[in-house]
Symmetry: C2
């Protein structure tokens, strides 16, 4: 096998060093200096093994071997190098360094026309501009100019403005989208970010479905009042209302399905003072399941929960639906070819899994036949500095992909 | 009666105009430009009616009629002009403008030796430097140099440093404390900040006890993880743990006593991202009751609640006890003299009440015979821009105090 574990490790460690929070995990907000350094590192590696590199109008990086024209049919493989604040070193990065290693291996083997395009998508996490997978969405053509001009970072800059120094060309966003005929299929390699593979001792799995996601922003308006002189029955405490809602959502998920997950990850309390009863609380709700019927049922239950909990406490509630992505079944034929490839190299049979997390692959699945490979995550820990996957497991996924692409 | 409602109204409106959040309530953090402007306004009014004004080493303002020396026994009356963020126009301010009006009325009546000292205490709310009643504590001698050097504002400045331009003299803090022999007694006028008087149509009440307060800071350390790929049973969600605690504290207070109140007013969640399970949450707990036995019992229950709730969820908990102020019974003789004064002017008999809120009066009660007058608060709303008390009710309290002081 031409795949080298050592190079994969070196890439991951090199990218990990680009962080705004050294010693406290990977922090590479999209369009930050650290994000750019990571993308530049990948581009340098690609140039070094004879690839051509392009930045599309949404600032996604694409690379192909110099011997393969941009019009020829090729496999697409890629992921992202942006991170959540204080995230891990493997989320996204694994899916970039695997095709990078394949292109490097191909160059060494004299296969300067390996039908493989690498992609680094911008703003997958959504923690910088408030909406996940913005780069792949823009390239897929599902998120146009308007959304990119509205989405803004903490400094108040829009995606279009903040991305300009990194290749964003607002005028070309609408035209420069994925051309189906150029792609044989898409395979994104990603860490599982759950504990299932690690627990069972499996190294790699084939992902044949991606959970859909509904996201909401709720505002609860109670009454700010003095924490000492307002009797308990006289209160309209927005934070107590939020607490009841958080626990109800935690209980709702397992009622709906064993695969459903519901998370309140973000909360803001006003005035947020030790001696003032909270007057207003904003919170986010993230709800996922791989079954669209469960998503619909969950949506109805979440709306009812917010309304009823607030009403019972005399609190005013507002619920905004900020995102709805359907569950995506991935391409059956590619899953079978990955299975065959894994068996040929002595790794398979691989388990079929559904991804609870969303990925750029979910965005591209309606346009390109798509599948994913999962690599085991230690204890399922992700979005956390303790995130870890074994380099040998990542190399095993690379070998499966190599076996598919070189056919 | 020489007390003029119109002047009281004018003072309150003038001070209300000094706010960092015009149109969104009173925001006068201690040592801010707005706070200083309010204190300067009071000083100007005092000078105009022939008073001498002094700033003590902790930046509290004191004023006496020029005809009364600083050594003669006098009544003390005062409160504060600092506010919580987006607070109301009456909290604290009422207790400053009432003795101001008395001193003005005395000057008009040619009583240039009225035995009354006005005080404006700094940092009563504790929302700027993290600890309430810092100014009166320093003057009472219960909070020394060390605490004032440690307490800091959001800009990272200590009370000693931030207060320097406003009169704080670190070197004199220890020496310049209340001299008991100079005071006949202390009467603080304050809005009730509860709904009891307003509901029953009473205008003024005599406060004969102040609830004690325990404050805590809790830290809950769970595990930050991916909101999509981490199954519900695998989570250690610090915010869900906090939610359970918030609801348990809400239920605890009425179990302990009908007067007990428990509040979580402040919360911080990390990393606070829509797609990340909260890894760490900090929250404040404020717990009050006018009975010290209930405070002790509540303390034990709160410690147990935090420990047990966190342990059951596999979350690590830390609980810091940030303040413990005992319940204070106020001076029986002064309460009786206030009652007699109210009856003489045709206002009484006044109800006796316990204050759920802490006040500078609670700090001074161990050193000076102390009582308070409460003025009705509309619907009990306080620490809120909608806070309101009727000017005629404030004037009624001023008349009771005038009747006591002029004896």
């Amino acid at each position: 096998m031409p795949i080298r574990i050592g190079r994969i490790q070196r890439d991951i460690e090199a990218i990990a060093a680009f962080t705004a929070t050294p010693g406290e995990g990977a922090t590479r907000p999209t369009f930050s200096a650290e994000w750019r350094a990571a993308r530049d590192y990948v581009a340098d590696q690609l140039h070094a093994c004879g690839c051509e590199v392009r930045i599309d109008a949404a600032a996604n990086l694409h690379a192909r071997p110099a011997g393969l024209s941009w019009d020829e049919p090729a496999w697409l493989s890629g992921s992202h190098v942006d991170t959540v604040p204080n995230g891990g070193d493997f989320d996204g990065v694994v899916g970039v360094v695997v095709p990078l290693e394949l292109l490097r291996a191909a160059a060494e083997e004299g296969r300067g026309n390996l039908p493989l395009e690498l992609a680094v998508f911008a703003e997958e996490e959504g923690t910088t501009f408030g909406l996940g997978m913005l780069g792949s969405r823009a390239w897929a053509g599902t998120t146009g100019f308007l959304a990119l001009s509205i989405a803004h970072n903490a400094a108040g800059e829009s995606y279009l403005r903040a991305g300009q120094p990194h290749g964003v060309r607002a005028e070309d966003i609408a035209a420069e989208t994925v051309q189906r005929g150029r792609y044989l299929g898409m395979v994104e390699v990603h860490i599982e970010q759950g504990a299932s593979l690690w627990r069972s001792g499996e190294r790699v799995a084939i992902v044949d479905a991606i959970a859909g996601r509904r996201q909401y922003r709720a505002r609860l308006q109670g009454h700010a009042n003095h924490a000492g002189s307002t009797s308990m029955p006289d209160r309209k405490d927005a934070l107590a209302c939020a607490a009841e809602l958080i626990l109800a959502l935690e209980a709702l998920a397992p009622e709906l399905s064993p695969r459903a997950v519901a998370t309140v990850g973000e909360i803001a309390c006003r005035p947020n003072a030790i001696n003032v009863i909270p007057g207003e609380v904003d919170l986010s709700i993230d709800f996922r399941d791989p079954d669209n019927a469960v998503l619909d049922e969950g949506h109805r239950r979440i709306e009812a929960l917010v309304t009823e909990t607030a009403a019972r406490r005399g609190v005013i509630s507002l619920l905004d639906w900020s995102e709805a992505l359907p569950a995506e079944a991935l391409d059956v034929a590619i899953c079978e070819r990955l299975q065959a490839a894994a068996e040929r190299i002595g790794l398979g049979p691989l388990r079929r899994a559904a991804s609870g997390a969303l990925h750029d692959a979910a965005i591209l699945a309606p346009y390109i036949p798509t599948a994913m490979l999962f690599v085991a995550s230690r204890d399922g820990i992700s979005h956390n500095p303790a995130e870890l996957s074994r380099f040998e497991d990542i190399a095993a996924a690379a070998e499966v992909l190599w076996e598919l692409v070189k056919e």
